[in-house]
């Protein structure tokens, strides 16, 4: 079908994201003749078997070092625990592979910088898996903010949370060493990416979370952007929140429901009418590369496929990466700043003595 037919895809890490999102997308692309050989890498036989069921023609390895000689010119997808993102990405780039690294790009800015330095030296591409950028609604919201369709943006309020239901294949998401943090660096990496992509840099922030020697399950972030916009973000992985982003503009408001890829609501201030926008345009991102089977409608999975298509097209020089490493670094930078300036989350429902005890955990944290 194209010049990249035959491009080898090496999927490193066969945990839940590989099984649920990457493997089905890759299967589509293989079925449509877009991709060539595929290699699955994981230490866990059980996990690799799950992904292999979806990609039965893929070969299987235990460690990235086993495919040293096959890396040059291939696309390596890094879907490992956060603490392994930097190492695997650097190894792959140094061996001549392009890399699509799952979010967050890494646990720290220091790790991000090492990845970016290697990317530059290797003359290969490094993309970060902030796939919400491929949601049509997210793109239109960005345009509306930039174009001031409803006037200047004044404030925003993001409430995002659920009882953790991701079928994690290991405990890595719950370890500060492995994950770098809790809900903020996990699901929050997407939120922070969108926040920065939509509204630019942060000037001031006040951040608090409930980590008490471990990793946070709840956090609250109050921000003032350089544009003067003020915002409130609450995230949880132990309680369902509204899962909505509310924007207040000079002349109206906009309400986006998390993970709805193609619609949002908006209205004029002082008017009782609300409008429901459904976006049907494909945005043009990788559209020419999409197999026919995914060209109608838009789902989260299809946005995920568009991310892969964008990376493949960027490797061929046909498109710009929608989320390059430099963008991934911004989200990690904001997350790192939050953790650095962390305060203890106020939990007024606890007895006073327990609230006091929570304060003692503040200095016990270990940053990677």
């Amino acid at each position: 079908m194209s010049a990249d037919k035959g491009m080898k895809i090496i999927l490193v890490g066969c945990g839940a994201v590989a099984e649920r999102l990457y493997a089905p997308c890759l299967r589509h692309l293989v079925d449509d003749g877009v991709l060539g050989d595929m290699v699955l890498i994981d230490r866990s036989e059980k996990q690799i078997e799950k992904v292999h069921r979806i990609l039965p023609n893929a070969s299987v390895r235990v460690h990235l070092s086993e495919v040293d000689t096959e890396l040059d010119g291939s696309l390596v997808i890094v879907a490992l625990p956060h603490n392994l993102h930097a190492r695997a990405t650097i190894t792959a780039l140094q061996a001549g592979a392009h890399v699509l690294c799952e979010k967050p790009m890494a646990r720290t800015v220091e790790e991000c910088d090492a990845m970016l330095t290697t990317e530059t030296a290797s003359a290969r591409l490094l993309a970060i898996g902030h796939f919400r950028r491929f949601f049509p609604a997210v793109n239109v919201i960005r345009d509306w903010i930039a174009e001031e369709r409803l006037g200047k943006l004044i404030s925003f309020r993001f409430l995002e949370g659920e009882v953790y239901s991701w079928p994690a294949a290991s405990a890595s998401f719950f370890s500060r060493e492995a994950a770098g943090g809790g809900v903020l660096i996990d699901a929050g990496a997407h939120t922070m990416d969108l926040l920065l992509w939509w509204m630019g840099s942060v000037e001031e922030l006040v951040y608090s979370d409930d980590a008490s020697g471990g990793v946070e399950a709840n956090c609250i972030l109050k921000l003032k952007m350089q544009s003067g916009v003020v915002g409130f973000v609450q995230m949880s992985r132990d309680w369902p929140l509204a899962n909505q982003y509310y924007f207040e503009f000079e002349r109206g408001w906009l309400l986006y429901t998390c993970d709805i890829v193609d619609s949002f609501r908006w209205g004029w201030s002082g008017n009782h009418l609300a409008y429901h926008v459904v976006i049907e345009d494909d945005l043009g991102v990788g559209f020419d590369r999409l197999p026919k089977s995914v060209r109608s409608g838009c789902t989260m999975m299809r946005c995920f496929e568009r991310q892969l298509s964008n990376v493949l097209a960027a490797i061929q020089g046909k498109q710009r990466l929608v989320c390059p490493g430099t963008e991934g670094r911004k989200a990690v930078g904001l997350i790192e700043r939050c953790y650095r300036e962390r305060q203890v989350l106020r939990q007024a429902w606890l007895p006073k003595n327990e609230q006091a005890k929570l304060e003692t955990f503040r200095n016990d944290e270990v940053r990677p």
Partner: protein, 371 residues
């Protein structure tokens, strides 16, 4: 410091117990959860957390190794309720755990116990609600196993457990009140038999340590006689709703259905509904570690014509009655806590008013309005 294992530490009560043990330095809690994903809530603490299936004796025994006491806070369907208590007792025996505190429920006496009911009253095996029957059977199972006296056992029977992170008796009710879906039966004058979660964990910890606790069963409730109206009023205040707007439904028999005493008619209505396969499936769902959103989904299930036909004359077009809630609200008996006071010298530390304020603080946070 002694180690206490908490089975089901990812749930509402198990989590609060874990937090309480740690923050009050009572013991080193060892949370035991069933899967990686269940670690999310408790992983805010740096604890020796273990993953074990509550039905797997060997896995549980490994997880319990070195613990002095174990708290059983596992929730689930009948298979889990029955299987897990059997497996937990066997695992405690195998791991040398000295004492097991089992969280049963006051519903073993039914939703509207006869006057005079106490811990020694016979348990109601015939009830329309599967959860209640499962709890009866689980207690019986535990009693038969504990006769070998290898593990000291304490059985606790709380009723309406509310407080921070309570999905149903706090968050869901508050959501319903906000959405105008909440209702009180007969003005909400029925006895609620509440137990604030902090009072419950107080008792659980006391039972793990007190020399007189083993072999006993305790009904656990707050000090006050709390009515359903009081609970709803407190939750309405927490979310800024005028409680006078909460709809009231009557349990009195009206035209059509046979005239029965109130509680009996609800019993038959509930039993009829229970026979509905759809309804049973939905109830199973809500008994799993449910979330508010899941509970909301359940409400839409309940709106199906099949269940609506059974509910007798809803007071408003949109009102859908949950037979379990109706049944609970008809309770006319305040459960006694004499044994708890006499044997363990326990009095609840947190009053209902303070408990309501703390719950309100949490609801503001949980609803995203704490700034």
């Amino acid at each position: 410091m002694r180690k206490f294992a908490v089975l089901g530490a990812g749930g509402f009560i198990g989590y609060r117990l874990t937090e309480y043990l740690l923050l009050n330095e009572v013991a080193v809690p060892r949370p035991i959860v069933r899967s990686f994903r269940s670690m999310a809530r408790v992983s805010k603490f740096d604890l020796d957390m273990r993953i074990a299936n509550a039905l797997d004796v060997r896995g549980l025994a490994d997880a319990l190794e070195g613990c002095e006491a174990a708290f059983h806070c596992v929730v689930g369907n009948r298979n889990t309720i029955l299987g897990s208590i059997e497996a937990t007792y066997a695992a405690c025996r195998q791991a040398g755990v000295k004492r097991l505190i089992y969280l049963s429920s006051a519903v073993v006496h039914g939703h509207n116990p006869c006057p005079g009911t106490d811990e020694d009253s016979p348990l109601l095996k015939v009830q329309p609600f599967d959860y209640n029957v499962s709890k009866v059977l689980a207690e019986e199972k535990l009693r038969s196993m504990m006769s070998d006296a290898t593990v000291e056992c304490v059985i606790l029977r709380p009723c309406i457990v509310f407080g921070p992170r309570s999905t149903f008796w706090s968050a869901q009710l508050a959501s319903d009140i906000l959405a105008g879906k909440a209702y009180l039966v007969d003005g909400g004058l029925g006895i609620c038999n509440t137990i604030f979660v902090d009072n419950l964990v107080d008792v659980m910890v006391l039972c793990a340590k007190h020399p007189a606790a083993p072999g006993n069963t305790f009904i656990v409730k707050d000090a006050e006689r709390v009515t359903w109206r009081q609970l709803y009023t407190a939750l309405a205040a927490a979310v800024g709703v005028d409680p006078s707007g909460i709809q009231s439904v009557s349990s009195a028999a009206d035209d059509g259905p046979p005239v029965l005493p109130a509680s009996e008619s609800v019993y038959y209505a509930a039993r009829t509904i229970w026979k509905s396969r759809v309804f049973r499936a939905a109830k199973e769902l809500v008994r799993s570690p449910s979330t508010v959103s899941l509970a909301i989904k359940l409400r839409s299930w309940l709106k199906s014509p099949e269940t609506r036909a059974v509910a007798r004359r809803p007071p408003a077009q949109s009102m859908v009655l949950d037979p379990e809630i109706v049944s609970l609200q008809l309770c006319q008996y305040e459960l006694p806590t004499r044994r708890l006071a006499n044997v363990l010298n326990y009095q609840p530390r947190v009053s209902f008013d303070v408990a309501s304020l703390r719950t309100a603080e949490w609801l503001r946070f949980a609803f995203g309005s704490a700034e």
